[in-house]
Each structure stands twice: as C-alpha cells, then as structure tokens.
Symmetry: C2
C-alpha cells in the first residue's frame, strides 16, 4: 500500500492545479501556482494568468488582502523571480509581506537565475524548502523551460499508432486509431501549444480545422502547414485553414522557389506565407526554428503522419514526442509505420526518449518525453 502524502505534497499538488488554470495562456511565461497556508488551512490562492499580469505569488498576496498570520507558509510551484521585469521581483514581495517560510516546487530553469531567488530569500532569513513535487512542477512548463534555456521554440511531434506502430490501415483509413479519451487529450495539448503544424497531405486528405475544442471553448493556435510546393493551393476547393474565421492564424511554409502565382493566391486568401530555404530535399528546419523565435512562437505541436515522423525522429528535428498507443494491432505489413532503411545492427542504435511520462486513457496510453539527440 502507498502511504498517505504529507501536507507539503498535498499543498504543492493544489498549487499545480492552480497553475494549470492558465493552461496555454501564459506564453512565453511559465505556468505558476501559489497558495498561502495558515495552520492547516489554505487562506489564499493565486496563479499567473498571462504575460504582463501579476505573478502567482503576488496574486496570492492580493487574494489574502491582509498581512499573513505568524507561521504562514507560501507554496509556489516555481522559484520566485528575483528580477524586476514587467512586474516587481517576487522575492521582494515575499520578504516585504513578512512571510517566513516558502515551499518551492521547481527551481528557475534559466541558468542565469537558477537558485538566486532561493538564495535571496534565505539571506533575508526566510526558511526555504525546495524540490517538493519537483518533476511535476517542471513538467508543467515543457515549453517555457526549453525556450528560456535554448532561446528556440520547443518543437514537439504528436503521433497516434497501434501497438504494432501503424498510423492507418493499408488503405490510408485512420479514423480512429485511438479512443475518445485519448483524442480529447490531444485537444488539451493543442491548447497548451501556441502553434500547431501539419503536412500538406493531411490538409488534402482530412481538411482539418486544427483548433482546440475543449467544452464550449474554441481556441485557434497559429496553424503552420508544411507545403514545400504549395500543392494545397492547387486543390479544387480551398482548405478550411485558408478560409475559416481563423485564417489569419494560418501560415504556409513553402520553399523559396515556390511558384509566385501560388504564393499570390495564398496571400490573397489572407493567410501568411513563410518562404524558407531547402535543406536536403526538405524545408530547412533550423531556419524554421529561427523564424518562430523571431515571431515569439515558443512552442509548436506537430501532428505527424508516418513520413514526417520518420524524418523528424531520425534527423532529430524535434525536441519532444507525444506517442498515443491504442490497444490494438493492425498486423498488416502494408500499413504505414515509422522507418527508413537504416539497417540497424544493435538495439543501442534506437532513438530514445528521456524524462518519460505516461498517461493512461482507458485502453490507450500516451508516452511522451524528450527525444535524445
């Protein structure tokens, strides 16, 4: 039997829940939750609601609306900031309000600041505990952690497969590989990322809307279409992405030598076009990364079919993978899966994931993690 969680764990898990209320809404800032406990009672809650808005700790202090009682403890999922940005330094706010104990989940992933907030608090005589549910607190901020450390967007590929690694029947039919709960989870991740990307073939085959539909909320991220030669614009009917109410969120990625009349047609629809250089027969992903960074797009969720998945895994073009597995086998050698003709000799040649997390959706399971490079 597992033992009951201690109170630090319970309160930190509540703080994670608070942070998640702004799921996908804080870019390029992190998700952060905070709460103030007096005795055994949560007396105030706060979370960061978006860039330019107050930090979670400050929200919690505002919610309390008075000085904390003696012995009050602040729980916060991320190390309090020690720099004055668009908002004041949280370390100052904590010290000023007189709170004497802070429990922290994850340390600041920014190597320039990591641990400094904790040190400032300790030097001011505040008792600091760190590392409570650290992995979960870090996992809240997959995008922020990557962006702040590398200065480039987190490129993540999502794929849905059978247990034998098939994306579709031999005919191409793929609705559906995974169950409803797993597909709802995809909506949740679409809401997390500021941008989504698909290949031209997906547009031509499925004509998706690529919005996140969660309950009554419809969210439309930046929608990238990988379409080197703009073949989606030669189709008889305009795809939804180029004509719906969110079309200004659509950006087509094509090669610099794409046909001028098709580029004109795209721009005429009101969608964006990024003309990118070629690299070994593909769009140059390093330039794509840089363009995203310039545009302030800190994360892209790429819905990959088998061809794109093979490309991004073997060339390590993405940083992160989401793999949904349905509890079924197609057992059909002609059905599409991942793989080129690498002629592997040892199992150690496999491409591995790190920091792996699993989530179970009835019979289906999501495995996700960083792609080791």
């Amino acid at each position: 039997m597992t033992s009951a969680p201690d109170s630090d764990t319970i309160f930190m898990r509540q703080a994670i829940g608070l942070a998640s209320q702004a799921w996908g809404q804080t870019h390029p800032n992190p998700l952060v939750g905070a709460l103030i406990v007096e005795g055994t009672e949560v007396v105030a809650e706060g979370w960061h609601k978006g860039a330019g808005q107050p930090h979670a700790e400050v929200e919690a202090f505002a919610a309390l609306g008075r000085a904390p009682a003696e012995g009050a403890v602040l729980y916060v999922t991320l190390e309090p900031c020690s720099t004055v940005g668009r908002t004041g330094a949280c370390t100052n706010a904590i010290i000023d309000c007189g709170i004497r104990k802070v429990v922290v989940g994850a340390v600041d992933p920014n190597p320039a600041h990591s641990g400094r907030g904790l040190q400032i608090l300790r030097e001011a005589g505040v008792e600091v505990e760190q590392g409570i549910l650290e992995d979960e607190c870090n996992d809240l901020n997959l995008i922020f952690n990557h962006w702040i450390t590398n200065g480039t967007p987190l490129l993540a590929a999502k794929m849905a497969m059978t247990l034998d690694g098939k994306f579709a029947a031999a005919s191409g039919h793929s609705q559906w590989v995974t169950n409803e709960a797993a597909r709802e989870d995809v909506m949740r991740w679409r809401r997390y990322f500021p941008a989504i990307a698909v290949g031209a073939n997906t547009i031509l085959k499925d004509d998706p809307s690529l919005t996140s539909r969660l309950g009554s909320e419809v969210f439309c991220p930046t929608r990238f279409v990988f379409d080197r030669h703009l073949k989606t614009l030669s189709a008889p009917a305009l795809p939804k992405l180029y004509s719906d109410e969110f079309k200004k969120n659509t950006v087509i990625l094509c090669l610099e030598n794409a046909k001028a009349d098709l580029v004109e047609k795209a721009l005429g629809c009101g969608v964006g076009v990024w003309m990118l250089p070629e690299d070994d027969g593909h769009i140059d992903w390093s330039v794509f990364r840089a363009r995203c960074a310039e545009a302030g797009i800190c994360g892209v969720y790429i819905e990959a079919g088998p061809t794109l998945a093979t490309e991004v895994i073997e060339a390590a073009k993405v940083d992160y993978l989401f793999i949904y597995k349905a509890a079924k086998f197609l057992s059909d050698a002609a059905a599409s899966g991942i793989g080129s003709n690498r002629q592997t000799v040892k199992m150690t040649e496999a491409f591995e994931l790190a920091d792996v997390q699993h989530a179970i959706f009835g019979s289906d399971v999501l495995t996700r993690g960083r792609l080791l490079k």
Copy 2:
C-alpha cells in the same frame, strides 16, 4: 486530487496483497486472500496456499484461533465456495463461526456457482457486500477464471517491442528492447504461469533457460518448445532446456511425422515429446490446447517473436497478450515487426484487446488484455 480510499477499499487491497503471497502456487485453484477486522483492526489474515490446502477464509479463522468478536467483518477477495470439495464449504464455516458481515471482491467466475455462495450467506442472515475492488480481484485470477469458465488453458503471448513495433534491430540483435524493471516483471509473470513456451528459433538463437528468477528463488515451469521438425535436436550442442537440472520439465511439440531418430534422441535426453497433428502448415493449436487440459496445465505463457506473434494474433490462437513497450524507436523498415499482407481497408479491422491493464516501469510500459475474437 483523488479522495482518500474508504476502509472497505483499504482492507480489500490488503486482502489482495495476502492472496498474492501464493502467486503462481495455487494452480488450478485461484489466488484468494481473506482477513478479519474487529472495529478498525485487522485481527487475522489468511490466504490460499495451494490445491488441497485450506481456503483463505478457513486460514483466517484458524489464525484468529477464537470466535470472532461481535461486529467482526470478514473481507475476502473471491466469493466463498458453497461446495464441499477437498475442503469443506466456506459458506458453512462462515455461518458456523458466527461472523455476521462479509465483504467480497469478485464473484465466483464459474457460471455453475456464481452468486450461490453469496445467496447462501444472505439466506443465513449474514450481511454481504460485494464488488469491492472487483476488477482487481478478478485480475488476480486471469488463469483460473479462464480455466473454470472454458475448461481450456489460458494461452497468453508476451512480446517486447519498441514504440514503432520492432522486436529487434535489422540484424536480429535484441538485447535489450526493454529496461531492467520491465524484464523483472517478465520474471514475475513467468512465475504466475504453470507453463512457458517458445519457438525453436529462440532456442537456437538465445539458448534460454526459461526459468523464473525472482530474488534467490528459481522456479522452473513446464517448458514447451514449438519445433515442428525437431530442428533443435540437430543443433551441434544440446540446448540448456534438454540438458539442465530441470530437463524433465521440458516438452517438445513436434508434428506427428517428425523424424523418428530425432524423437528418439529427444526422449533419450529425458525430455517429453508431444507429437501433434498439422493444421495449415502449423502445429494444430486446438489439439495442443486439449493436450494441456488433459495434463492439467491451466495456463501457458508464450514468449513470442514477430513471426509467432503475427500467427497467434491473426488466427486468435491465444486468449491474452502481454505487450511491453520501450520508450524508443528503431525507425528501421528492415527490423522485424508484426504483420502479414492483410491489406486492411478500415481501422475497424484491427485486432483489439479488452479488459486492458497498464503497468508503468520507468520509461517502459506494459499493456495487457484479452484478445477479442
């Protein structure tokens, strides 16, 4: 946050833990655990230790060694038996000892008895609650439930794959696909089944011992080798299975027309030989099933490579699948996976699992379930 479990759930989970102490040792009987609670205290524990031994409830009464106090409750993972077999009916023992409340996990899966024990108790004025952790209690007895319902062994295939469904590198190298924790779990399931089976190619390639090594315990199940033409006996050296200290537990499965001199050689080694009819180029599995049943072998754990896995899935020759998935991709079209040339048109043609359970081993995951037929 999940709410704390109620006391029925806590005690039933303890009873499941007790049942598991006889893991793999009760065939053809089920694993059953029981405990007696007075107030909030567990005052006696019992579990079924093996065929011919007392049932779990009787063990608990014996451990108590006195009449239960007023208000005492018996928790038991499986519906008490109402028939007099090698041991007396547990329903009588319960009524006689004066206990007035019984909490039951799973009902008896035997359609001839299911619910009868509960009814007898209720008619005698005993309060009965049923269905506490029912799925987990049923899951304890995968083999027993199948055997008692169908009268045939539970045939289960185990496979280990990468996320893209590969069993080995293109060269055939496969050590290791999964991590150490997942491989330890295989040892646990080998201990659960009274018999294990592999193909001749596995014997020739890996020369395994097919024992279950858990801590200091070495357990050797009945070891079946699928070897239609007895090619393992033509190998230059005798495989371990035919020469080690457990060789009397080895049974080679060959065709009725296998060469007489090789059959002689096998028998000369001291291993068993079952000569079985052919069915569509393979050993006839329905005859294999019947022979197992005659021999009292109620479950077989088949360690399947990609060829055998394809065969047993497509022809539904097995009842249950264990699929270990490592968090890696080989991304090599030449590496072996599952599949024939079925030319599937719809995703609904996939072979699905039911009653799916997942277990997480660090980065790896086990998906297991009944193969729908």
